[in-house]
Amino acid sequence: MSATTVLRSLLHELRQAAPNGCIKDSLAARYILAQFKKFKTTDQQLCKARNEAVFLGQTYLTYLTSTRNYNELHKEYHGRGERSVKETADLVGFKLPTDPK
């Protein structure tokens, strides 16, 4: 993944994770943008592993994406207790005695 893709995806994920969908004054977004600007000319930090900055960006991206996916799956499948009579009836196509014909 190129650095630009990572940056765009990171900002996208941050926007999705934010409760109001706005990252205008988000600390993380500001920090990430500053880091990307800093390593714009070279993302190979001196005396460190190659592409360390991009690797860290990718890892944070994985963190945000996986957490979001997990939450979505959890919301979809987590049990919400027993179904009500109405829900069960709807499930099998029956009608309650009180429902109109």
């Binding site: 600390l27 920090y31 860290l56 890892t59 994985t62 997990y70 207790g81």
Partner: protein, 278 residues
């Protein structure tokens, strides 16, 4: 006889259904401990006493043991603040892995010393996921050879060890010399960083994979895929269940990514050396 029983049962059901059919009024639901509500509006980071702290409105974030949350690395504090900011109505503590590692490292609830932790990690080598391979099924064995063997080879080269895979249930033999070499590597890290290592190894059930991902040889997704190699292989034949396989995959990825970030932000110290103007 069973048929007769069934017909009488249906008959009684029918006769009862006219008016007095008992309708349950309360819906039974499982009771979980209530999650704390989000009690703050804004999160922020401040620098105090040589560490970065997270504030929730005007309050300082504290660990479960009551200590003030303070970390050495700024990005780590920012990430934790963002995580708290991303909570909606409730604070879902079980899904905040990055904060969880930081809290564990600050509180050290099990009172681990460095030696305890290195021993804990070393105990994993004998049952490392990638060292147990299976040769009864040809496709699976090929897959394991192609995917796992390069990682083992890299590990052996990087740490100058001689780990060998096993093809049956007997655990691989790890010499004391190899153990010493790996222990020396872990000893060189600080106590906080070792918490990150333990978190990563617990997630992957493999020291080899954890070291590879922390040394940036493979990405987090790849490491999780390698740890779940056999599961992925079997899923191809038996079907993929979203609420089990996908859920565990996403959780492992999030956990591992949190551990890797934690280790890196704890280890890396960057400073800028400016050119002197003459």
């Amino acid at each position: 006889m069973f048929a007769r029983l069934a017909t009488t049962a249906i008959a009684t059901l029918r006769s009862g259904s006219s008016s007095k059919w008992p309708v349950p009024t309360t819906i039974v639901s499982r009771q979980y401990a209530a999650q704390p509500k989000r009690f703050y509006k804004k999160t922020s980071v401040l620098y105090a006493d040589g560490g970065y702290e997270v504030t929730l409105d005007h309050r300082k974030l504290k660990t479960p043991k009551g200590a003030i949350f303070s970390v050495k690395s700024e990005p780590l504090a920012i990430a934790v603040a963002t995580e708290f900011d991303n909570q909606r109505e409730h604070i879902e503590r079980s899904r905040m892995h990055l904060s969880a590692i930081c809290f564990t490292a600050i509180d050290n609830p099990n009172n681990f010393t460095k030696i305890d932790m290195v021993n804990y990690l070393l105990n994993y080598i004998a049952t490392d996921t990638v060292l147990f391979q299976y040769d009864n099924e040809k496709d699976l064995q090929e897959l394991q050879q192609n995917e796992w063997d390069p990682v083992i080879a890299w590990f052996n080269q990087r740490y100058e060890t001689n780990l060998k895979k096993t093809m049956n249930i007997t655990p691989p033999k790890v010499t004391d010399e190899d153990k010493m070499k790996i222990a020396k590597h872990f000893q060189s890290h600080s106590l906080e960083t070792l918490h990150g290592f333990i978190f990563a190894v617990d997630t992957l059930k493999s020291i080899v994979l954890a070291c590879a991902v922390i040394d940036q040889q493979i990405t987090v997704e790849k490491a999780v895929a390698l740890a779940r190699l056999e599961e992925e292989y079997q899923v191809k034949f038996w079907g993929r269940v979203e609420w089990s396989h996908d859920l565990s995959q996403q959780e492992l990825q999030a956990r591992l990514a949190a551990a890797v970030l934690y280790v890196h932000m704890n280890c890396s110290e960057s400073f800028v050396k400016e050119k002197l103007l003459v």
